[in-house]
Symmetry: C2
Subunit: 118 residues, 2 copies
């Protein structure tokens, strides 16, 4: 199962939700797919994206990605096709914070129209 899911993820251009997986593997149990994603995330194989749509998306990590703050890239959610993309080339710049605020994680979600839909 995990091999099949990994294979599926490798073919994707956009991040996938649990529902997407379920639709692609209608013979597999939803919970198994859920736990597969969780395992992948735990092992650092994928990262999760809360794009504000209500369902969390998952995408394979780039080679050498430690999912650390300095690896963080921008995510883009298209309001037309409803796909969520990793934009690894759009890095999140340094943000000035008030005194004594310490950052551990950053997430930057942009919404709009993607290249395919414009």
């Amino acid at each position: 199962m995990r091999l099949l899911v990994l294979d599926f993820l490798l073919k994707q251009q956009a991040a996938v939700s649990l529902n997407d997986l379920e639709a692609a593997f209608h013979r597999a149990d939803r919970i198994t797919l859920y736990r597969t994603l969780k395992t992948f995330e735990e092992k650092g194989l994928v990262h999760s994206i809360a794009d504000g749509t209500g369902s969390v998306k998952y995408a394979l990590c780039e080679e050498g990605c430690a999912c650390a703050p300095e690896d963080l890239h921008v995510h883009f959610h298209c309001n037309i096709c409803n796909e969520t993309y990793c934009l690894p080339k759009s890095r999140i710049p340094e943000i000035a914070l008030p005194e004594n605020f310490k950052t551990e994680e950053i997430s930057l979600i942009m919404k709009g129209t993607c290249a395919s839909c414009s």
Copy 2:
């Protein structure tokens, strides 16, 4: 009810969730509070913040805020006190996007330790 909620929001340092409101107004119905927040948001009185904790937070808009992309500020969620703060002084810088991507909304959530908790 709306006046009471507005009054409550004016006193807050951090963004509030529906549950926070419910706790503060235990005599009011959860749905009424929900619809009050929705009305406020629709009228541009508050903006909502999806901080990734699973419950949406709401905070009063600044004077003159149009909730437009150029008004967008950073939100900070403290992992210790679990409060979510607006950081109106931390503006979101321009992000370089791939060609033909058009931005309509941006949300930048930082997580870590806030000034009170460090």
